[in-house]
Amino acid sequence: MIAQQLVNGLMLGGIYVLVAVSFTLFFGCLNFLNFSVPALFMLGGFLTWAGVAAGLPWPAAVLLALTVAALASLLVERLTWRLQRGGPPLIPLVSSLGFLILFENLVLVRWGSDARAIPSPFGDANWRIGELVIGLPQLFGLILSIGLVFGLQALLKRSKLGRGIRSLAENAETATMLGVEVDRVAPRLFLLAGLFCALAGVLFSLSYQLVSPYMGDQVALKGLSAMVLGGMGNIWGAVIGGLVIGLVEIFAVGALSADHVNVVVFGILLLSLIIRPTGLFGDPALGQQKL
């Protein structure tokens, strides 16, 4: 039973990992707490459903959802970050919340607020080892998300874009003086981070087979907590934070009830912040600035 919960927790955690990494990219590199992340997650998951419901084959629906979410992320870059960078960091936060309300309500206007069931493309694909049941879509999601983080790590380390992003994270002013073009690097970062959380939405809808216009809100709160727990700006911290939050959530459901999940998850977050105000693996300087 404990092994089963461990498996379920890690698989749920895999989704939080992608959302936490997305938050970390925005916050660690641009000092931007992007509140449109829940909406990008929702667009990924919900539009996959909408595409399938409209008769598209699965891969096409996923591709469509990812494309729309990527465009939405670029729109946020253009209308929020580009206009308001350099000012107080609270300002882009308000504007990105505007985008959260905008995207959620656009979906609401078109498809209504009901939660929709989405059929699994894999049927009832489970892998059984003795008593243990492992859902194959979930397993695929977990492996994919860890693989993507490795890919991101390599990209940040090796490529020119990665060096640009890391120099921006270090010091935006110096990076600009050294010839990093912020206006070229930032859109790519938005594209990358937007795709990460949209993909998390796709994986969530495939694994749990339920979508709604508000599906991003709770998941994003957990992803945000995962980022903080791991320490901000640290991608591997976000991975561990995501997995820990997933495990805590599943064990809290098992030991208490589904209603107690938030008390336990956020109680742990509150306590860990009080005991160690810079997260588990974070750069102590990050996140301390004025918000």
Binding site: F27, L33, F35, L79, T80, L83, Q84, G87, L90, I91, L93, V94, S95, L97, G98, F99, L100, I101, L102, N105, L106, L108, V109, D217, L221, L224, S225, V228, M232, D259, H260, V261, N262, V263, V265, F266, G267, L269, L270, L273, I274, P277, T278, G279, G287, Q288, Q289, K290, L291
Partner: protein, 278 residues
């Protein structure tokens, strides 16, 4: 006055009080994303006092505000040691913990919500909002307000000038918590029903953002921001399902045009000069 406009004005009055609750710590640069949690504490404690112990409404609501302020003071000690985003998230976590506990507390109805017997109309609630506004005006011009503004500008230099920074921040956080508790108590006794779900993080975030949109530099900002966030969706009501789409577009547009908020200190000075000339 029609019932509809009275209902909107009451909501506006409550939102204005909540906005000042979030504004006080924000004036010192501290983002409190737990405002809805303090509102919930005020709403539930005042409702229990007026329902079960039959306290008079003013006494119960005042006690609810004191209770929320007490919680703010108790949690403020450890939480205010964190800064920036960590503080925002610690208060956000506090909000979720409070909400989670209330939803599981069967004495006050749990997830089904809690009916409140006593009822307050527009007039007393508007009077409270006016009182809070005057209090904010006074606080803004007081030594506390100046110290908060100085901390927002530069914490280290403020401390060098002999201001006790942690105490000042805790004072702002506590008074803000009490104001939020007042807003919550008024909310419960006006709508006659409270449930944990209402006081969620999104409410806290929206309150803080309405203050930022109005402008944090002056005492007028929070009231203007609360009015924007309360009235604009009503103005767009004719657009039916599209109203929040239009509202969100308006928020994005305003922040693109006026990133410092709707009311800034420079605006007020210009206004004062114009009045003097005229």
């Amino acid at each position: 006055m029609s019932g509809y406009s009275a209902a909107i004005l009451t909501l506006l009055a409550i939102n204005i009080i909540a906005a000042y609750a979030a504004w006080l710590p924000l004036a010192a640069g501290q983002v409190n994303l737990g405002t809805a949690g303090f509102m919930a504490i005020g709403a539930y404690s005042s409702a229990v006092l007026s329902n079960e112990f039959e306290w008079s409404l003013p006494m119960a609501i005042a006690a609810g505000a004191v209770c929320a302020g007490g919680f703010a003071m108790a949690i403020g000690g450890p939480v205010l040691r964190t800064r920036g985003l960590y503080l925002a998230l610690a208060t956000l976590a506090f909000n979720e913990v409070v909400r989670g506990i209330l939803i599981n507390l069967d004495v006050v109805g749990g997830a089904a919500g809690y009916p409140v017997i006593g009822h307050l109309g527009l007039v007393p609630i508007a009077a409270c909002a006016a009182g809070i506004f005057l209090l904010a005006l006074w606080l803004g011009a007081s030594r506390l307000g100046m110290n908060l503004h100085a901390i927002e500008q530069d914490e280290t230099v403020t401390a060098l000038f002999g201001v006790h920074v942690p105490f000042t921040q805790l004072a702002a956080f506590t008074i803000g918590g009490a104001m939020a508790g007042l807003a919550g108590g008024l909310y419960g006794h006006h709508f006659s029903f409270i449930e944990g779900q209402h006081f969620n993080v999104l409410l806290s975030v929206t309150i803080v953002l309405s203050v930022v949109l109005g402008g944090t530099q002056t005492v007028w900002g929070p009231a203007i921001g609360a009015a924007f966030f309360t009235l604009l969706p009503e103005i767009f009501r004719g657009a039916a399902a599209w109203r929040y789409v239009l509202f969100a577009a308006a928020v994005i547009l305003v922040m693109a045009i006026r990133p410092q908020g709707l009311v800034t200190r420079a605006d007020l000075m210009r206004l004062r000069r114009a009045v003097r000339l005229a």
